[in-house]
Symmetry: C2
């Protein structure tokens, strides 16, 4: 157990933006909520996975919706708690701790805000090791944990308890309801025993996010190259360097979909890189080859400051470095690739790990 | 208390088709389910409103969705019971009786099927005195009864408990969920105390439907004009007689919307009548005048057999008589007209009662 205070939150927010792979919502909103809750109530207890009991009830708290809406429509803060209370009533059991569903974007920070305001601890783990756009795209689901009962709550006071036959139905029904409820809601979802968390989650996610933030800050303070330090920390690869020349996005079916075009600079001069996203970056390619594909992580960093760009933060003219990071091994299984691989998103590609793609390209 | 057996069901189905005002789903599906349940379990107890206790828990059971889907996608029969069981758990109280939410279409018969299969009585009342397309268009709502907690259940095993700040939110969220869940679901909705049922429902609905069926059958047996007999029973008006020459419908936003055109015959020769519907008939007009408008009832009958047409049953060439029936007084209040009057449906008309429209037209 250790305490998460304001400095840790600042670092986690940087790591969350990077692992958000362009999506997950700008962590800024979640950071401000977490900072305020910690200001008012003191630091949050962070538990490592081995500190929870097998029969503890652990419930991830997450915002669901299109990132552009998340940015425009602030949560009231009550929804997350209302969803938790409703789920405790359904399960007739007290929730012992919360945790992020994803290690990326606003959803890395919101559980910390909830935890600070109600005095719950947070488990240092998550269900993605990155961000993904759909509810069933979590390692909990890969391990057979039921998505439901889940509760959705909006800022107006509407709430819903959902019980579905599988995670894809939960995704489809909750997504449709979310759109009607104003585009974003808070979920209490994937209620788990401590034992299930131990078996199915990706460990140390918040610590990893914090370390990303630290490494970037320290490298800058020491005049080192922060991008190189991040690549070393995460075992990642530099995919492309250039300037954003075009960005198309539209909100469609509850998601933000689109493509960013980056014109090569330096070693990539004369080439174009295309980033395709559905909330998160799914595919990075040039005119000749694929550089990295989901479920591996595609992250866009500011070439000068090394700070990560979210898709909605990306602007014409931004000088960016695109990096690829191997996904957690849980995602590189047959089931993982079926749930979140390129074919699920409609690409006619078999999954190829980023390290193989890089080797093939001779980079 | 009296018993509803197979003969009563046959008559109720005819009345339900008429009061369905074109929508509510073809009662045939509900009739077959009710007949089968009665065949297996015996007749259903029909309670008059004064036979229920003030603190009894009464819950209407209803199918929600576009009528065209209802016809194509048969309920498994389990959904209604699953929804009831889930609602009993939420409210921690046994349901004493069910009742129809609407006196029209498939939803008049489905509560009888549920009641027969689980041995519950049915209250001889409903919340519309007709059919309407949206969840908040019930007299319960006009009297301040909460639409939620409500439960939606589909035939696949998915279910949802909804709690909303008002009935319009329940309608919007449940409608979106229904579309994702395959276009139709069973609801346990508007849970009420016996006292609330007494204050807010329209009485004797099932008996009235049964009497409509009886009157049509008896008139035919006695070589009387069945349409005239129905008009006398319901205090209705003959609006138009003619032949269907065009029918346009599309399923849109969970509803079937469209227009039927009827070319005048006999006393209406040379005129055209246009019926506009959203699941139910909302407006009947000629090129010169409005004949009848929601919330008053617009019903289309076969000129020869007096059997009612649902919108989806209406075909080119059908010889029809359109009748108008004054809505229950609960609908002619300011609140009733706000909730289900012509302006709610986008018409630029103040509500005018059918008897005044007829007088103005000098018919």
């Amino acid at each position: 157990m250790r305490l998460i205070g304001k400095e840790e939150i600042e670092n986690i927010a940087i790591g969350a933006a990077l692992l958000g792979t362009g999506g997950g919502g700008d962590p800024f909103v979640g950071k401000m909520m977490a900072l305020q809750a910690i200001e008012e109530n003191g630091p949050v207890k962070l538990l490592s996975v081995d500190e929870i009991d097998d029969d503890d009830l652990i419930v991830p708290s997450a915002m669901m919706g299109a990132p552009t809406v998340l940015v425009e429509k602030l949560a009231s803060g009550d929804e997350a708690l209302k969803a938790f209370n409703a789920l405790e009533e359904v399960l007739n059991k007290k929730i012992k701790a919360t945790m992020p569903i994803e290690a990326g974007g606003v959803n890395s920070l919101l559980p910390l805000a909830l935890a600070a305001s109600v005095g719950l601890p947070v488990v240092d783990a998550d269900g993605m090791g990155r961000a993904f756009p759909e509810l069933q795209m979590v390692t909990f689901y890969l391990h057979g944990v039921s998505t439901t009962p889940m509760v959705l709550a909006d800022e107006k006071g509407n709430s819903m308890v959902l019980n579905t036959v599988n995670g894809k139905w939960a995704e489809d029904i909750a997504r449709a309801a979310t759109m009607v409820m104003g585009g974003s809601v808070m979920n209490a979802i994937y209620p788990m025993s401590g034992k299930q968390v131990k078996a199915s989650s990706i460990y140390h996610s918040l610590t990893l996010e914090e370390n990303i933030g630290k490494v970037i800050k320290e490298a800058k303070a020491n005049k080192q190259n922060p991008i190189e330090e991040v690549l070393q920390l995460l075992g990642g690869f530099k995919l492309f360097t250039g300037k954003v020349t075009d960005i198309e996005r539209k909100t469609d079916g509850g998601f933000v979909r689109g493509t960013a075009t980056i014109e090569g600079l330096d070693q990539n001069k004369g080439e174009q890189c295309y980033l395709e996203f559905q909330n998160e970056n799914l595919m990075a390619k040039t005119d000749h080859e694929v550089l990295c594909m989901t479920p591996d992580l595609i992250c866009v960093m500011d070439t000068d400051t090394a700070l990560p760009f979210t898709t909605e933060g990306l602007r014409y003219g931004a000088r960016t470095t695109v990096i690829g990071i191997p996904a957690d091994e849980k995602w590189r299984t047959e089931k993982g690739i079926e749930v979140a691989g390129p074919r699920y998103f409609g690409y006619d590609h078999d999954f190829t790990p980023v390290e193989q793609l890089i080797r093939k390209a001779g980079k």
